[in-house]
Symmetry: D2
Subunit: 282 residues, 4 copies
């Protein structure tokens, strides 16, 4: 393994795709120095997008969360969230009616802007499930797991409706050494129990990358070889970027640590184009 | 598929192994007429055991639960629960110290009678996990899923300790058309997240059957061909019985319904020796 | 379940995506009457594409195979094969050097047109693997399974290179009641053994649908709601079409039979927009 | 991790269970010095058994294979093979008729001594499958994978019969750096394709350990805490031994290497009682 300087790596590309958690920020702070990277991108006129497996909040709220931390370069238009993919699916395939969801009140944004009535699983009456048109796993917060996961299970057993998972992650970081179960793992448990096939949206799936690719407007001549995907996780960021035909940079500020990076690449067979200490331009 | 009269089936055997849920009882009632079966077993001098994936209560408490419903033939000595296998493991392999558990206060019985200090996951201090010697998934009740499953996940990530699953079922019936998530499914979710290998106890595993087999004392001449396993679930009761070399009877009062039994046998490849409407001797 | 007349279904759409096996043809014959469908498409000016999990032959050879059976409407430009996606990946990510492959001599087409040197696994010298840049599972024919699968396994264990699966199907039909193991199942076995992550191309993955979507040139105003995906398999054609936001028609001339269609939809949770007896316009 | 001297470890036990491959021998040689261990066992009167996932040959032939290499202490009575468990199952549950098998001519021993007619898959006529009573995966040699695995798949699809896997290993070592696909991995591929449930015999399953446990005759007072399981593989030898309540010793002459042992134990959560350089008494 050889480390590449991050600036050297990005100088070869016109557009950057960034993962959020573990690359730009931790649970409640920015990666120290990351604002210098966005200054450099501004100077050099490089376009960028944030590709994030997150359906807990709207792009506007996600952008604000960076502003609150002191990073003002990221606007809603730069954010591609897995919640947006779920919304697109619902617009094409469900169209109208009531959709039940697991998640925070904020996560309902993606359902309501699709023109649907959003009903929190916490408010679902088990005796009155007949007009539910779809079920969406959005976020791990906003409901009581003991009672509402059983309600979810029985809804899926009784009704043949589309089930959508808007964040495929298994865990997310809470602190330096603590993680929390993400809604993707909960959805997988229910899927295993019922034996049905849910529809998943988020990295490493190609749709996430295509969605961002189609948003590249300022650079009409951009091809896939002009884009670098920057992430901290082999199984989502790097695998997805590779499969979509992009070059990829693995950074070591999140899920993958320096001392294990060689072993992880060898054992998974997922090979980034570059390995960089962090996404900070020094 | 041909239905066999239950009495005709059992007349060929000296010993009966029964599953509990869906065979002898539903969530809060006996299968109507099941007391006649136990009268017949008494008359004909056939021995029987209840093999149940259940670690929520001690054999004494499980026996009492039948007495409360009006069935007095089942004593603690007739019950082989998956909790007993977990206890046996702990006696051989953990010996002393504190064991954390997910489950009701009653489920701690299996840990305490193994000479161990039982600490509910609800009472575990995340900052003070160093003296935990093992973790046991006992039952789905007795803790807060939102907070305590994350605590469980972080305990397993930080400490290299044995993790035991004392009930491998994915769901259990709550009412005629309602099921609840069992602790086996929750344990599987955590196991998938951490990528470690937990130790599972319960049907269809051979240990459950061996445990019962070794309890057959009154009938020294009993061989496996003298035993009939009676259950309502192909993947646990029938598969486990078959694999242990027993004849098996599938009854249609629980997880497997008459209209689907042919299709289920064909699609799973799990083949019972007999199919009977119920375990009731008429 | 209600059957929809195929003509009624397609009259609502401008563009049709067809699966090949089980929809247009069986192993060595056309679905009787299917040429009438293509006559109708010609008359009504509807555009169509064949989306097929097949990397055994080039689009030209695939088109010829329809011509030999008497169907002349399908040209190479109408065919989107999973082999084309694998080729695209290789063009972006491997660029030059030698690529080992499992498959027929014809399947090497996709590698050679990507500017790569193709080396059949049958010709690979186990003592001389150092310059292999990638490995591709193309097709189940063209090599000796006993010896060459072991060679494949050891190549993947020793070298950290991208492994590509250009056909994700598990089986393909040989005759009315006989199936054969497809290369997707073989690749899955090797992937399970080594614990690495291969890159899969083919339905139900979004990339297949995007590839076809981008080929729609004659109809600049076509949106996803103008397209109908027609297939015989819930897990690939219908799931993939649904997830991409297309309406879907399940036909009963292949993997899914009339008597089981209700049960299959209910048990998988994969719901087509229409169910049609066949893709034949009467 | 701390290494324990092998003699120190075994001095605490009355009975030893040994894995074969990677502990006593490699593909075609003994582990250097292993004969000293058996001399020591003889002197000290310790009993031992070889527990091996192997159905390619009879216990007599397996014992002879040690004799040919110069180790004369191992007789047929000391060998517990997974083939013996499969035979026991067949004796109880199939009784008579023809059983198809995948494996060498020698592996048919386990079927024929169960009183059954053994028919190699290579000799099975696909048009004449009606009197096959069961199918057994014995060994990876003795048949043509290209043709006979498809025959196997179609047999299982057409007939609802028990399918037995008499060796659950995924690979076996061929040389210092080369492995071969074992029949367990092939069986898993077919099982995944058909979606049926096969019956597996071999470590880490409890039945293997019980079988050996019941053979301990010379030491009537032996309990589980008097037995040490010695193996080179965490997922079979150590997991199975632990779960059965035995103490376990991991040796580093086979599947687990010194430099990775800590990481493997931490990442799998499978914890041996001792780690020893080898099973050689110095």
């Amino acid at each position: 393994m050889e480390l590449t300087d991050f600036r050297t790596a990005i100088d070869r590309y016109k557009v950057l795709f960034f993962d959020a958690f573990g690359v730009l920020k931790t649970y409640n702070a920015l990666i120290p120095g990351i604002e210098k990277t966005f200054g450099y991108l501004r100077e050099t006129g490089k376009e960028f997008y944030i590709l994030t497996n997150d359906a807990s909040r709207s792009p506007e709220q996600l952008a604000e969360s960076y502003h609150r931390l002191g990073l003002y370069d990221i606007g809603p238009d730069s954010i591609v969230s897995s919640g947006m993919l779920a919304r697109e699916y619902l617009q094409y395939k469900v169209e109208n009616g009531t959709v039940a969801y697991l998640g925070t009140r904020n996560s309902a944004h993606y359902l309501e802007t699709a023109g649907l009535k959003a009903l929190s699983i916490a408010d679902l009456d088990p005796e009155n499930m007949d007009d539910i048109r779809a079920l969406v796993f959005m976020d791990d917060e906003g409901f009581d797991w003991n009672t509402d996961l059983n309600k979810t299970l029985n809804l899926i057993r009784r009704r043949t409706i589309p089930v959508i998972v808007a964040n495929t992650d298994k865990t997310y970081p809470m602190g330096m050494k603590t993680v929390a179960i993400a809604i993707g793992a909960v959805a997988k448990m229910i899927e295993d129990i019922v034996g049905k096939q849910f529809m998943r949206f988020g990295k490493p799936d190609a749709q996430m990358f295509i969605f961002a690719y189609q948003h590249i407007q300022n650079n009409p001549g951009v091809s896939r070889s002009d884009i670098l995907m920057v992430g901290d996780t082999l199984h989502t960021d790097i695998l997805g970027g590779n499969k979509f035909g992009l070059d990829t940079a693995l950074v070591l500020t999140g899920n993958t640590r320096l001392e294990e990076v060689d072993m992880r690449i060898r054992s998974t067979g997922i090979i980034p184009t570059y390995i960089c200490e962090s996404a900070v331009v020094k």
